[in-house]
């Protein structure tokens, strides 16, 4: 288990502030954040390339903040892979064996890793003659031959094409299960993060915004910043008008209406009842006039202002009646065609009560 406790790191004018998170054994934790948010500095600090001002980095109960890099027992694959260009693939893989001749290694491990990643035919090649995907596999095998069970990946699949990227993501999952690895990865790709992760941390400007299990983070972002980073555009100001154990009613001035929210179990504390709420564009349904349910909550009338057609879905910008703020709705292309939507058409839509989440009002 890895525990990062309240670490502060300074690099020139940039600061990582009070970062804390845990990773369970055999789990994958992914750190996501925009470019320059401090993701790589955080990884480099855990590996030992950077000194921490204060805080603790604990692996299996031992604080390693003062342990030399070579004794931290962390396998590392950097973004540029850093395969040693003067060595063959085989010599890269067996590097740790050659420099630590006194250490007793599991001699079967490299062969197993080579087999699992399908790189046996590359062993005698020079690094410069490998493709991007092959280099990734070699770097992964090289890191894992050190027999560390804790693997750190920095933007692992950033420089490869989509097909190879998907193959490698599956391969990584397979290797993780086969060799019982605990993984910490950094990425700015949300799809990749949600594919690999059990838990996720979002970092911005050196601050940890939220750490959560993948599903919790997806459904219940706690701040506007996190929601926006997750691609949620529909965020509104509201005032709590009533709250029961199972439901919350808010008044939204932007939509000039009350809304019903099914409580998530995460009760947001708000001193003056002023909150924000958000909803994913895919969680808003356009209603057919002939199938209207009179008991349906959170139903609005609006006019289509803009239609953005994409490959497999459409984004529709709708302005609710008596409102100045627009709402973004996403529907599959087949539904778009069936509903015969066009700009300036009046429609009815509903914000699913179970899909609305409350956010802290930090204004």
């Amino acid at each position: 288990m890895l525990q990062v406790k309240n670490i502060n790191v300074s690099v020139d004018n940039f600061k990582l502030k009070k970062i804390s998170f845990n990773i369970e054994d055999k789990a994958t934790h992914v750190i996501i954040g925009p470019t320059g948010s401090g993701k790589t500095i955080l990884l480099e600090t855990i590996i030992g390339f950077r000194k921490i001002n204060n805080g603790e980095i604990i692996i299996n109960g031992k604080d390693i903040k003062n342990t030399p890099i070579e004794k931290r027992d962390i396998a590392y694959v950097p973004q540029d892979l850093a395969l040693f260009p003067h060595l063959s693939v085989k010599d890269n893989i067996y590097y740790s064996y050659k420099i630590n001749k006194n250490k007793k290694y599991n001699k079967e491990l490299p062969a197993k890793l080579i087999e699992a990643t399908g790189i046996k035919h590359l062993l005698n090649r020079k690094i410069e003659f490998l493709s991007g995907g092959e280099k990734q596999r070699v770097a992964l095998v090289r890191a894992l031959t050190s027999e560390s069970k804790f693997l750190i990946l920095d933007e692992p699949f950033s420089a490869i094409n989509e097909t190879t990227k998907n193959e490698l993501r599956f391969l990584l999952k397979k290797i993780q299960n086969e060799f019982n690895l605990t993984i910490l990865s950094v990425t700015h790709d949300l799809d990749e993060a949600f594919f690999l992760a059990d838990s996720i941390s979002i970092i911005s400007d050196g601050k940890l915004l939220q750490t959560d299990k993948k599903k919790e983070l997806y459904y219940y972002p706690t701040s506007v910043e996190v929601a926006q980073f997750l691609g949620i555009n529909n965020i509104f100001d509201a005032t709590i008008s009533n709250r029961t154990e199972s439901e919350t009613t808010v008044f939204c001035k932007d939509l000039n209406s009350n809304l019903l929210i099914v409580n998530s179990g995460r009760n947001l504390k708000s001193e003056n009842n002023r909150v924000k709420f958000g909803i994913r564009k895919s969680e808003i349904m356009i209603l057919r006039d002939d199938l209207l349910n009179p008991k349906q909550s959170n139903v609005f009338n609006g006019v289509i202002e803009l239609i953005i057609e994409k490959v497999s879905f459409c984004e529709i910008v709708v302005v609710p009646i008596n409102s100045e703020k627009s709402i973004l709705i996403e529907i599959p292309t087949y539904a778009f065609n069936k509903l015969k939507l066009f700009v300036s058409k009046s429609i009815k839509f509903t914000l699913k009560a179970e899909s609305i989440f409350l956010l802290k009002n930090t204004d």
């Binding site: 390339f49 890099i69 070579e70 040693f84 003067h86 740790s96 420099i99 250490k103 090289r142």
Partner: protein
């Protein structure tokens, strides 16, 4: 005239300047005197002395320059910028002044004590070594630093995570990757030491069969109106220098020297 042509003319001007200097030496060239002179005991001694002293001073300079160049390239530490400026000292101060400074150093009480109790330096073989070492150390460190600058620190970082200590990561990763750059630094340092005159002349003097390196011999022969003799020495210097550069480019494949 097009810009391209103008720039090429300047490049050819440089070539013509040096070629005309080299060709002009043939004006006094006499094959018989040349052969007699090159196989004379005094010339052979100068060649041996120059090769030997340049080799020793270069080895010493490279031994110091590799760790120093590495430190200046990889670490931020107090005084590193000052050291970086000091490296230029042998380039901006005339070799004669550098020699005079060494002479003054060995004339002070500490230097005198060293010469009395350890070994005589001034006007000996050791003076040649010190003159060459001091002259080439800066350039050798500068070249090795720029070689190491070009090697990503990420390689050593990864080697560390694979269990290598800092020195082992340096030996197994950075040193092999810097091989070509180090070799070219060695060759250029050697060539610079081989042709060193000003500092050597000042602290080792001009004693035939004792401190007469090839550049000193050129000066001595010219001072004695032995133009043919000095041409022999000049040709040895030119042919050695050009051969070293050509061989280095062909064998090592380094094109930036």
């Amino acid at each position: 005239m097009k810009f391209r042509k103008i720039t090429i003319i300047f490049a050819f001007f440089i070539m013509l300047l040096y070629l005309s200097l080299i060709v002009s030496t043939f004006f006094y060239f006499d094959i018989k005197t040349f052969i007699d002179s090159i196989f004379s005991e005094r010339t052979l001694f100068s060649i041996r002395l120059s090769v030997f002293s340049a080799s020793i001073s270069t080895i010493l300079a490279v031994i110091v320059s590799i760790p120093a160049g590495y430190a200046l390239s990889k670490y931020k530490f107090f005084g590193s910028k000052f050291i970086d400026i000091i490296l230029e000292l042998p380039l901006i101060i005339s070799p004669a002044a550098l020699g005079a400074m060494i002479l003054i150093f060995f004339s002070n009480p500490a230097g005198q004590w060293f010469q009395e109790h350890i070994t005589q330096i001034i006007y000996t073989f050791w003076a040649i070594i010190i003159a060459q070492f001091v002259t080439v150390l800066g350039i050798s460190t500068r070249m090795i630093k720029s070689t190491i600058d070009q090697i990503s620190t990420r390689y050593e970082d990864v080697a560390r995570t694979l269990g290598a200590s800092p020195s082992k990561a340096f030996r197994t990763i950075t040193l092999p990757l810097a091989k070509k750059g180090l070799l070219s630094a060695f060759v250029l340092t050697w060539a610079k030491a081989f042709g060193e005159f000003g500092a050597t002349y000042t602290i080792a003097g001009t004693m035939p069969m004792k401190t007469e390196t090839i550049p000193v011999s050129v000066y001595m022969k010219l001072a004695g109106a032995d133009i043919n003799g000095s041409i022999v020495m000049i040709m040895i210097l030119i042919s050695t220098g050009i051969s070293l550069l050509v061989v280095t480019r062909l064998v090592i494949g380094v094109s930036n020297i």
